[in-house]
């Protein structure tokens, strides 16, 4: 991973714009940092390298922020790339167990996290 990261270091904003293929309309469901992404199709010849890299990473569910860290690209760029893949049905996005503003989380979520932490 650190190898691919180095390749993208020192990138200019223009370069990122090219990777992201310009701007598309915003995705219907906004992606959270911890939205989990799962690949739904196999990498195909001719796909953009960044799309391929995401498909390979997401053979098991991986969060948006993890994809960004592994590929060494900003979350904002990953979000655009995921928008392409979502539009083409190549990946599935699983929205986080969100807590709405000024609301408390579902008690079942709290208990699941507590149980998990106690096992650490």
């Amino acid at each position: 991973m650190s190898g691919s990261r180095r390749v993208w270091e020192g990138q200019s904003p223009e370069r990122l714009y090219v990777i992201a293929g310009g701007q598309r309309a915003a995705a219907e469901t906004p992606l959270d940092l911890v939205t989990l992404i799962v690949a739904r199709s196999e990498p195909r010849p001719g796909m953009q390298p960044e799309h391929l890299a995401i498909l390979r990473l997401c053979s098991s569910p991986l969060s948006v922020v993890e994809i960004a860290a592994h590929l060494g690209l900003p979350v904002s760029v990953i979000t655009v790339l995921l928008g392409d893949l979502l539009a083409d049905g190549d990946v599935e996005a699983r929205a986080p167990a969100r807590v709405r503003r000024a609301q408390l989380p579902d008690i079942a979520i709290v208990e699941t996290v507590m149980d998990g932490l106690r096992k650490l």
């Binding site: 959270d32 940092l33 911890v34 922020v65 699983r94 986080p96 503003r101 979520i109 996290v113 998990g116």
Partner: protein, 203 residues
């Protein structure tokens, strides 16, 4: 558990892959207070890092004086993960507490279960702004005091008074280098959330 998103998770091809959802906890504090250490202590993976290149407009009130390249600033976000169940992955983010980084909190605090305010008793002033901000955003939080070897030891109640913190908000001492100690801070937060939720349901 994830009923809100059931239509998104129910996918004909998803058999065999555990249904899963991410949840977030944010650890906020000043520079050098131990956020990244805490994330690393409890994370099941080596903490990861992502960099965002912010334009000056995005940086807002950050003062670029004396910086040669004034157009962009790189912001680093460290995070870790804990698989808490087959269905749920907890992500921990370390977020800088200084006001000029608050723009970063936007994607972090939204939808988070809660926050840990990590306090260095040598620099209490950073914590005031952080706690006010969390209250404004209506994010539940607990306060954790990281003990550095040379940090003065204060009684918890003295710190509560200094921070002007209501009795209802838990304060715990911790050593962020320790996995158990850091985990206990997270458990304190979850216990606090549990009690808040139980109170709300009872009323």
């Amino acid at each position: 558990m994830d009923c809100e998103n059931s239509e998104e998770t129910a996918h004909p091809q998803s058999d065999g892959i555990p249904k899963s959802a991410g949840v977030k906890i944010v650890i906020v504090g000043g520079f050098g207070v131990g956020k990244t250490t805490m994330v690393g202590s409890v994370s099941e993976i080596r903490p990861l890092r992502t960099e965002e290149t912010m334009t000056q407009a995005g940086v807002g009130i950050d003062d670029p004086a004396g910086v040669e390249q004034k157009t962009t600033t790189t912001v680093v976000l460290d995070f870790g993960r804990i698989t808490v169940s087959r269905e749920m992955v907890l992500y921990l983010f370390g977020a800088p507490g200084q006001e000029r980084f608050w723009f970063l909190w936007k994607g972090l605090i939204e939808g988070a279960l809660g926050a840990v305010v990590l306090v260095d008793t040598r620099r209490l002033e950073v914590s005031f702004d952080v706690m006010n901000r969390l209250e404004e955003q209506e994010v539940p939080f607990v306060v954790a005091i990281n003990h550095f070897q040379d940090s003065p030891r204060h009684a918890i109640e003295d710190i509560r008074e200094s921070l002007d913190l209501p009795e209802s908000i838990p304060i715990v001492e911790c050593d962020v280098r320790s996995r158990e100690s850091s985990r206990d801070v997270l458990l304190e937060l979850m216990g606090y959330l549990h009690s808040l939720t139980a109170t709300q349901e009872a009323s």
